[in-house]
Symmetry: D2
């Protein structure tokens, strides 16, 4: 890696800078126009490099103007589409379809593809979209532009191009510092903390990477190997906990899943992560029989509050019932669960397995979910069936215990409400 | 690699086959419909695997039917496009643009992306397009379908995703046998022959690879390090030639460039190959000053014949003049050179440097070009300028020697013609 | 690898050649004396490089003289040893032991260690010993010198420094051509033949490598995955055989084990190879239950002839009995089995499991063992116990079938002998 | 790496533990005797594993007893040596030399080699010697035992087996934490501090590694790329310093060299490190012309104090003169420089180039050398010659400036002394 990079770098300095690569001080829009019109890779790469470099130096206002230029100046031409559509309707030939395809794709999509010709461009373009998402709030025109980025990224970050890699204490520091930065569920506060999550024989971590940006994890999951299903995140992560031999574990607990790239929002690739990790672990550790999460319930308190339920003094038993009720019955308008984490795991084919009170005593955990956490269970032989029922008829798969708790929760619920009256 | 593959394989056998992955004997069209309609990756991967597997077992007639189904059954809906276009024209909002984007993309594009979710799918889809190109001859409907493959592949095989790798005697046998199979210019007839092109210290080979099909070269170039510019391919490849120390060479000769994937026809990625290889070699061997090809002139004889010139008895001097004249003046209707190899190198920014008679005495060489070969010169500091002039105003860059020869060739030409009369 | 090599090479050319590294035309003995006396690595590396280079250009007569110089000129000094021994006996201090150690080690050992300071030296020194073994036949003085090489190599090629690697169709061509060259049991006659042994899913190959000579296998084993124990090598290797899925195999057959380095003769590292390969395969393919060899019996015919048994017309049943008898009872003076292959596998803890007549119909197979082959069985839970009994009290572990055959063989034997009388 | 380790681990658990590998509760001495007497690798590996594991659990008293057993119970037998020597003197045959070699090598050397058969043994044996060096202080018998370890390690860690690797922010965290721990010259106090030394484009680090303990650096050097020769370590390492582009640097400064393995004390492999790093950097950065250290002068103050020179109030100019004088003239009894760092660099062929006052204002720097530091210059074309003169006739190579300063220092010295009288 080191030497390959070196060669590339040295070359670029030595040759590219000599000739056409010298800074072009025309307006960025002119460079963009040139790149779209460029007839070959030779000049295209120089232009792409310059545009990306110039973009990197823009302030937010200038970025907004740049995006607006793409959105308005490089949009599809409705008359051209109309004309192409008419030709296509008259006769569906290769020629008419080609005209149609060319008309319906806005030039900015070709621009983004051409920008991607140079080293490191993919990472920079993901960063560009991160800017766009931030700057397009409330701006319908820029939000439309984002659809083009999203369309291309869905193609580029297609599941077939992603690579699953174990992340451990042997991984490059460069990658590990990203894990520290991106952990979104239970913050990692130092390299020592990171080490406690990666190095012990009963801990694992896996990430999806894309070959064009190999130092940037896209999504990662942290796993604890345990005997039995744990009911407390603080217990699971305690510094003084007792380690076990990995091959004596019967359970793999997915206790944290973090998306890393704001610029890839809406591009789905996490769905198969847990399933694939579970598979790899099964092979390595044949005694593993249970694959569960230990997940937050981020919407619980808000929902309880919205329902007018005073949970502040609820005992643990009541909290579990209320949580089960929430997970099983609280829905959005489209019929999907209200809780975003539940939507993710149920959508993957997991089932709601257990709920634990007093499971997350952190400030965030108490505030969001009154300390309650949930295990979603991945039964590898049932995930497809669960997924399909969930996707088609919104059935929430759950253990019989959760179902009982939820029913009991209805009573607790009624009780609470009646107590209020 | 070996173990990673193993893990994946074992898992798929162990888990996936248990449940939903069992063979689905519904018609292929039904599986395709399901995959397009699938709501998540979980069932999507199973379907993709089955469709690719089923496709692999089809005969040509069945493949043609499969393609026809994609072409006709999964095309864009003109009324939907028209309706979306009208909404978009009324107000260019995110919502109207999303409707437009969804309407103008035929479902078969999403199908191809979803097929690409499983391991090895990229290679299989490139193979599928190879079938399509073969089976669509004279079939305008299938040729239109090819535009969708081409559109997606242009995105997937974007230059930014390709990796340049040296190919040498330390490379995997699996990759090397592909080099033997794909060499298109000067055939490699055995492993010993291959070894003579890869192992000597004055020989090099480089290929572009794509991370999703790492065992399949996309394009490769073979290089000889020499003192001075060679004028004979048989001399360059002679078994008993004298090797030189690489660091005493002043010239790198690109004597063979081969595209490998018929299924990637029309997807451009070769243009930057020579330039990048020249750069890497420059760094390694600072004494290298000259980067040239030793190229066939495949259209020479046909053109001479077409012009009614009897070259059978021409002496070497005359042949060189005629070749220079051909390269400098023979054009297609669009003003580009008639010779395809000339188009490629001039389009990359090279210039016509020298021509050699008696340079390729093979049957093919004698038949195509009366034994004449040409050196195109890559001057790294001028490729951009050459390229741009060629692309914009069709200027063919050439050495003064070639220009003189070409002018002299005009006389030779006139002479020949007058001799005929 | 490629770039690292490049860096080293370029550096050596650029710097080392400038100064002290220029060819030193003093006698080789003078360079040797200098290297032994050199006070540091700086000049030592230059000397080492020159000596190795000069050695490489010697003819056999000169090599013999070089070895004789090492043997006689750089031997231990008996008076110095005697003096050191006396000091040591008087008082076993650090100082006296240091004097003793210095006295008893001949300077040529330090010479060999110092030669090993430069890149690729290990491989060259192994080659040097190969020369020595060849040239020392019948020369007791040179054979004594070999003990020093052997002593150092036993340290350098200590089992703890070796690396087990799978060899497959993805391995470097450079390594694969060595496999072709070194196969000693059943010759590989082309790259296609090699491919048939490496690429099918039911074939494997593993080698021990040393990090200092990574392109040179030290020993390798070829494995066939089968259902049931095969009884014919030609059947096992037949071009038109039916492949099976690896995960349906119940048996791994070690059908060829080849030592690669003549210069490492007598350095043991093969003993753990089969055991370790069996372990790796077990993990990958849990259905594998049986680990056997399909081995030649190279001494059978010679023994039968020696015993005066006319086996030419023996039927298959009789041949099996005679083979079993040979393997179970034919011994050397030291009580170990007469058959070298039997000694190797029994020494590793295997047991004699089955014998097959008509199992190797090649010329070599018919000539050496009348076509009979044997399976040695590696029962991973019993190898230690088998090994220890064999090593301590010469017990040959065998299946009950073999024991019966051997007893029957005694009769056959008597019968044959009586038939002769 | 990860999967390979996994395979090994799983295997060892699965198979080795079943049979002979169960804990053997006989005295450690009995296991040692068994291992020396073991007839093959099969049982030897089990014994080696157990001995190393048992050793790891010993306390210091028990370790001392274990070492005493090796030192006294597994020593050479003087009578056997005497007898072998007599045979050898009578006739220098292979047989008599073999007897001699066997007699003069104590069984504990074979023991150490056999312990090295199992994974990770090399690292454990290096740790064992670290214990031995610590526990053998003042114990002549144990110190003699150390000679055996040292003898074997000199063979195992022969320069030809070491690998030079760049250490950077892409290196495994596991390796980087060792760099933090082992930095012996200018302490690294956090991961952020480490990052400042590795990640900037004008900083480099290189280490020698051994393939059998790939996570353990043996020695490493930290390098700063600068314009001109720096005269202050605090300036060089300042957080707010200005970075430069690597390819604009003309000087590489080796500002810290740390040995990492106490258990490899006395095994030389650092001598070629700087020379080789200088070579690699030269290739990468052709503008680099000067290779210097920025080194402490650890013995300066002690020497000044010993000489009775009151340096407390000396001005910077005087300090430089005194330092030059110290480096050029202060010698040990054997004629080598008194200063250990000077011995190292001069022994490598460097010359004393410049001295700087106020160059190390840390507590340690002020206390050891009154803040003075020195640049040793590596002139790649002169290192061999410098080295040889230094090694043979103790000539200290120095710049003319240093020579002048040293002469002036003599006066300063006399002055100081006269001032005292």
């Amino acid at each position: 890696m080191f030497l390959a990079d070196l060669l590339t770098t040295v070359f670029e300095r030595r040759y590219l800078s000599k000739g056409a690569d010298k800074a072009d001080d025309r307006p960025l829009e002119a460079l963009v126009a040139d790149l779209i019109g460029a007839t070959g890779e030779v000049s295209g790469q120089n232009l792409a490099r310059q545009i990306l470099s110039r973009y990197g130096a823009l302030n937010d206002e200038e970025k907004r103007a740049f995006f607006r230029h793409l959105a308005e100046g490089l949009a599809v031409s409705a008359p051209a589409v109309r004309s192409a559509l008419e030709h296509y309707e008259k006769g569906q030939s290769k020629a008419s379809y080609r005209e149609f395809m060319e008309a319906v794709e806005p030039p900015r999509q070709e621009l983004i593809r051409r920008l991607n010709q140079v080293p490191d461009a993919t990472r920079l373009l993901v960063g560009m979209r991160e800017d766009l998402l931030r700057l397009s709030k409330g701006d319908d025109v820029l939000q439309a532009l984002d659809l083009d980025f999203r369309h291309l990224f869905a193609s580029w970050f297609n599941r077939g191009f992603l690579v699953l890699r174990p992340i451990n204490w042997e991984s490059p520091a460069q990658l590990l510092e990203k894990i520290i930065a991106y952990e979104a569920v239970h913050a990692i506060d130092s390299w020592s903390d990171l080490r406690r999550r990666l190095e012990p024989v009963d801990r694992r971590c896996f990430a999806f990477l894309h070959p064009a940006m190999p130092d940037e994890p896209l999504i990662f999951v942290e796993v604890a190997l345990t005997k039995g299903i744990p009911g407390s995140i603080q217990g699971l992560l305690a510094e003084n906990r007792t380690q076990i031999e990995a091959d004596t574990a019967d359970t793999a607990v997915f206790y944290s899943i973090s998306n890393c790239q704001a610029g890839l929002a809406g591009i789905s690739f996490g769905n198969s992560l847990i399933k694939q990790v579970a598979a790899d672990l099964s092979l390595e550790l044949p005694k593993l029989k249970t694959f569960v999460t230990l997940s937050p319930i981020p919407g619980l308190v808000r929902w309880l509050d919205g329902e007018g339920i005073d949970h502040g003094s609820a005992d643990e038993d009541t909290l579990r019932k209320l949580a089960a009720r929430y997970l099983m019955t609280a829905k959005r308008k489209d019929g999907l669960p209200l809780d975003p984490v539940a939507r993710f795991h149920l959508g993957n084919g997991a089932l709601v397995h257990q709920v634990h009170a007093g499971a997350d005593l952190s400030d965030k955990g108490m505030k969001q979910s009154a300390g309650v956490m949930v295990n979603y269970l991945y039964d590898l032989e049932k995930v497809t069936q669960n997924h399909e029922r969930f996707a088609s008829i919104r059935t929430i798969a759950a253990s019989s215990e959760i179902k009982s708790l939820s029913t009991a929760g209805e009573n607790a619920f009624t009780l609470e409400l009646s107590a209020l009256n």
